[in-house]
Symmetry: C2
Subunit: 135 residues, 2 copies
């Protein structure tokens, strides 16, 4: 079996902050929203239904864990969870904290405007706040 290799664009646009049982949990390099990405570490998977039933259940558990932590940390009005993948076909699930005064609210974040990179300290601070919210 081929090993799992992270897609180049996911590698460029996000940074790994935690390895879960199934997924690599990544923080998007875009400061406009608290934006996490779950990437199941399985080769050749594009759709949720390409995963085995056990991996589907694990992905659900990890989405719920991450969504709950992000809600707790941010107090967001709504958590958006989406597997889109029209551009990057490697299966990845967005988990995004949305608030009523954020860019493009209540529209979706995907395809909207240009990313605004974090300053390094702000990225590290966001990362640590998220990891603390898991505890």
């Amino acid at each position: 079996m081929q090993p799992f290799v992270l897609d180049d664009r996911l590698a460029r646009d996000s940074e790994s902050i935690l390895k879960l049982g199934l997924c690599d949990l990544r923080l998007a390099r875009d400061s406009r929203w608290p934006w996490l990405i779950l990437v199941p570490q399985r080769p050749d998977v594009s759709e949720i239904f390409d995963l085995t039933p056990l991996d589907q259940a694990l992905l659900t558990f990890e989405q719920v864990t991450v969504g709950t932590a992000l809600k707790k940390m941010t107090g967001a009005d709504k958590i958006n969870i989406a597997a889109i993948g029209n551009i990057v076909r490697q299966l990845h699930v967005h988990v995004v904290a949305r608030s009523e005064n954020d860019p493009n609210w209540p529209g979706p974040i995907w395809g909207f405007g240009q990313s605004v990179p974090y300053e390094e300290k702000a990225f590290e601070a966001m990362k640590h706040r998220i990891l603390e919210a898991f505890q």
Copy 2:
């Protein structure tokens, strides 16, 4: 416990085509994309993590069942699965068949343009093709 009552906007913008174990499966009244919506029939639920763990597993199973059927029926390039809910807060999951020549590809469908209603015969035909794909 309060009974489940479907949100008014979901009722207006989509039509029930099948009741699954957890969800009301609805077809959006927008002919631009084959667009299904799963609504868990539980009161006062806004986020996936508001569901019980058993209901979360059921929702995953139903998403996979519906996504697989939609892929089989349409031959779509990508199935988009998303729980957004910034406008309608009642938990609902979009399952949409996307193709490389469809409106706003590869951008998201949410918040894009105006809906294009089906003619009645075309709606019934789409509904029957979807239901057949479950078999």
